[in-house]
Chain length 206, copies 4
């Protein structure tokens, strides 16, 4: 967690630092990201950085928390009503929320992507240790419930399917940020719809 000094900073300066940091971590992996560059671009002294943050890791972990919380505000409505919807509706909502999130904060999405790439580095372990909610676990649970409700064929390999659903989520995001114009539009939602159908055909009970 950043030190108090950081939160005492004038809003503008704090945002400036955060923005520069987000840029840096969106452009480089955690290991490659440079505190030197951050302070230079942010126009602050090196010493100041360490008056705001305990370490590079401190800043990064904080960023991840901010991103996580931001993402949760997108997912919360869906997750709250999770029991009212059938599995495939849930899935569509989660995908859509993810896409809306990535539309709003493309840099955050980029950082998330970079992070997935740094699996099996120490920083990733640390994140998992403190944060837990790895996406595929959510899907595992959803699948479990869906099977019990008879919405999904009970003979599927839950782990694998959850892994794939999580991965497709990421892939859709990636594709969206790479190829489509930056604005959230109907087209991508149609695509999501089609994929849900595809999955329904594949693993649904009927």
């Amino acid at each position: 967690m950043p030190k108090e000094t950081f939160f005492n900073l004038p809003e503008e300066k704090r945002q400036q630092i955060l923005n520069v940091a987000i840029d840096e971590f969106a452009t480089n992996t955690y290991a490659q990201a440079s505190v030197n560059r951050i302070v230079e671009k942010a126009g602050i002294a090196k010493g100041s950085f360490y008056q705001y943050f305990k370490s590079k890791k401190d800043l990064f972990l904080y960023l991840m928390q901010v991103i996580g919380e931001e993402k949760m505000t997108y997912l919360a409505p869906t997750l709250q009503n999770i029991h009212q919807y059938d599995f495939f509706t849930c899935l569509r909502e989660i995908y859509a929320a993810g896409i809306r999130f990535a539309t709003q904060y493309p840099k955050y999405a980029e950082i998330g992507k970079k992070l997935l790439a740094s699996k099996d580095t120490p920083i990733f372990e640390e994140l998992v240790d403190q944060n837990l909610p790895v996406a595929s676990q959510l899907f595992q649970e959803l699948l479990h419930q869906a099977i019990q409700r008879g919405e999904i064929r009970p003979d599927i390999d839950i782990n694998l399917i959850a892994y794939l659903i999580a991965s497709i989520n990421t892939t859709l995001l990636e594709y969206y940020t790479e190829n489509i114009n930056q604005e959230f539009d109907e087209k991508i939602l149609n695509t999501v719809e089609k994929f849900i159908d595809l999955l329904r055909n594949g693993i649904g009970t009927k």
Copy 2:
């Protein structure tokens, strides 16, 4: 491309260097990989390294080419008979070839995974510039032909589907290397089969 001196090296020494390099790039991202460590583990002089390779990048790009070629030997039989098979059969063969490849050369697969994580870093651009044959392009072409042959519904978004098929390929590999025992087995092939079915239901003409 490595310099001539590298190719003049005795086979054994050349392999030794390549093996060490593969280890290093399988364990670290491109940026994190260290020439220092490579020469140390390979037991060659630092100067020698730069007599074989123009730079770290040179070595890495060469490695990517070797890996690519190796992978092609796995795909070649399938690609050669591509016109005899329908799209979904092709797909199954390609997936299976990929899994066989990853089983045989897990380190290569690891490097590939690491690389996907460094998209939009300079080195990745360079790779695309020199190498082109990004997987999704292959799938685009296959999809194109399949549509013309009436195997696939013509209203799909080719780019997106190709992207997803490529991504699922990677995901299966990832899942396979993370969760399944190291030996190539029937189980994973069954999964592939199911996914092909799933896709057939989703995008096939019927």
Copy 3:
């Protein structure tokens, strides 16, 4: 010397700061001691520190003075009656006073020890420049008088013997703090007695 602001501080706060500083200098050498840590532990603002003290050196020099004065209150009774006692009695009293002092203020003793280790560093020079009363000078004087009174053989090397007596004083203290339980006891006084005898045999006139 601390600035006036420091002495205007409420007694309690002033003591708190001094105590923290003593801890820091007892745990670290002068160079290693950190103003950052001091202000943090003392719960004062960084700026405040520099309103109380001109510099880290200022604080340290002041501390040394405080310690010196404190030690003097232990030695004063002895020094006042110095002419009534013979040399060896004086010596015993001085040693005993030193041990009592170290028993009472082990942190002070620790700082003293650390300081002796940093002889010939700039800070030590400065101390000598301002403070002078190095222990061995006291012993030189005592020896001088003792020779004139015929208590000690006139052919000894006064400088050397004074140096050694001072050093033994320190050594006894060190040994005491390292090996003996923290309470002032008879045992160490017996040892002092023995050493006095030893010296008496060695340099006394009879």
Copy 4:
């Protein structure tokens, strides 16, 4: 231990680096000593330093080893004949050897002195861990044997006396390097002689 590269250096350059390092560690404590200053004064690149030594610690430990070995060549003749001499003769020889050593290598003596001052720092622990032969242990053993041979009164506190003998050794060295001209002379040996006598009177059996 320094790397091979260091020992491959031309004699002159190696000595130059060692001399600069000795100067640095004789002037500063281990913690305060600066690799930056060393490379600057030695006229080598910072990177070169780390091609010679694994770390600052590596250099320091090596220096301690060199000093230790050098000191051993002074002590060896005495230690070999330790059983032929009585305790006080041994002591005189050891003191004299120490003084001869300090005369020859005053910088080494200075480093040793600095080190004693950094007791209870991590580097000291490390040294003790690898080197063991703390001086006072040697004296403890000598005292033990001397008591068994009836040369010394059995009622003394061995630990304390050993500690003091070791300390006096250091003190003599210190005094010698601070006050006397740099050449080894008779005067100091006379003083040693007197101290031995003093001890003989104090703790000898007769």
